[in-house]
Symmetry: C2
Subunit: 180 residues, 2 copies
């Protein structure tokens, strides 16, 4: 859909980092005027809903420097170059939780911050999960704590804002319907 399209007049790359880049686009508006758009480019990410046979949801707690606090999330991670999202999902599940699965079922994709970023998260459900004999290694700058919680415990984490990010908030209300 191209309604109200904003054509790029000029692009200035302002920052190129290890994970994100930032550019400012000068755009032509539908009324003929121009405006500046600040845009963060991100490689995209996956997130995984994983539930054990006894209906415990697998979550990870980790420090999020951008928020200056730790939060509890569903397992997730960035897509590596040329990596298929469902393989990213399996890799992140294995690395962050020590579980693997027989099938990654696609649920939904969504843009996290369409006002300033192109990041898209692809959400999966890990089906037929099983504990691995030997856990995969985390990235060397990654520290996570694994949690297994009931739906009721997850609800309390939403209320107390220990769960505080959009994908996990979405996962909670999705699971409320799925597990009932």
């Amino acid at each position: 859909m191209k309604k109200f399209e904003e054509k790029t007049v000029q692009t200035n790359l302002e920052f190129s980092g290890r994970i994100i880049t930032l550019q400012v686009d000068e755009v032509l508006l539908p009324n003929g005027k121009t405006a500046k758009r600040e845009i963060v480019k991100h490689p995209g990410a996956v997130a995984v809903i994983a539930v054990t046979d006894d209906k415990k949801i697998i979550l990870v707690e980790q420090y999020r420097k951008a928020l200056e606090r730790s939060i509890i999330e569903i397992p997730a991670g960035k897509i590596e170059p040329n990596e298929a999202p469902e393989l990213t999902a399996l890799r992140e599940l294995e690395e962050e939780t020590g579980y693997t699965c027989a099938n990654m079922k696609f649920i939904q994709s969504f843009a996290t911050s369409p006002g300033f970023a192109d990041e898209i998260i692809h959400l999966y459900m890990a089906e037929d999960i099983a504990k691995m004999e030997q856990a995969s290694a985390l990235d060397e700058d990654e520290f996570v704590e694994l949690l297994h919680v009931s739906l009721e415990e997850m609800e309390q984490m939403v209320i107390s804002q220990q769960i505080f990010d959009a994908k996990t908030a979405f996962a909670y209300i999705w699971l409320k319907d799925y597990l009932k």
Copy 2:
């Protein structure tokens, strides 16, 4: 919660724009090593779920330069300096839709992209909405089209990915429960 805290060793401001800034923090990890964190600072935003008396959900279609397409969203917008979020919510509802409301009920706050940004969205439900006689003015670089849709039409928009952002995806499954 400060588990796995990453203390800032040094901060470098890389970009300061009209809406976002970008900084790279060098942090001290729990294992004593250091790492770089690329962080986007954003003033925060609100989003508003508004439903008419005949159970039509009020949505807006707008072009999102970061995604290079238009998407359909619940009304939303950035918090201005020193603005209380519930006032931002009322202002954005009035500006983007021409509706006002008697009460803004807080639903939930969530971080949109905790891996690289501090943006938090505060989600509200507009209660007792009414059409304004004279609509508020949009920002001069803002072009939106107003839509009134049923829950079933909203579901089709999720399936077709016309609805494609996290807050509106969340709003849809929240509304599925609320309107049933």
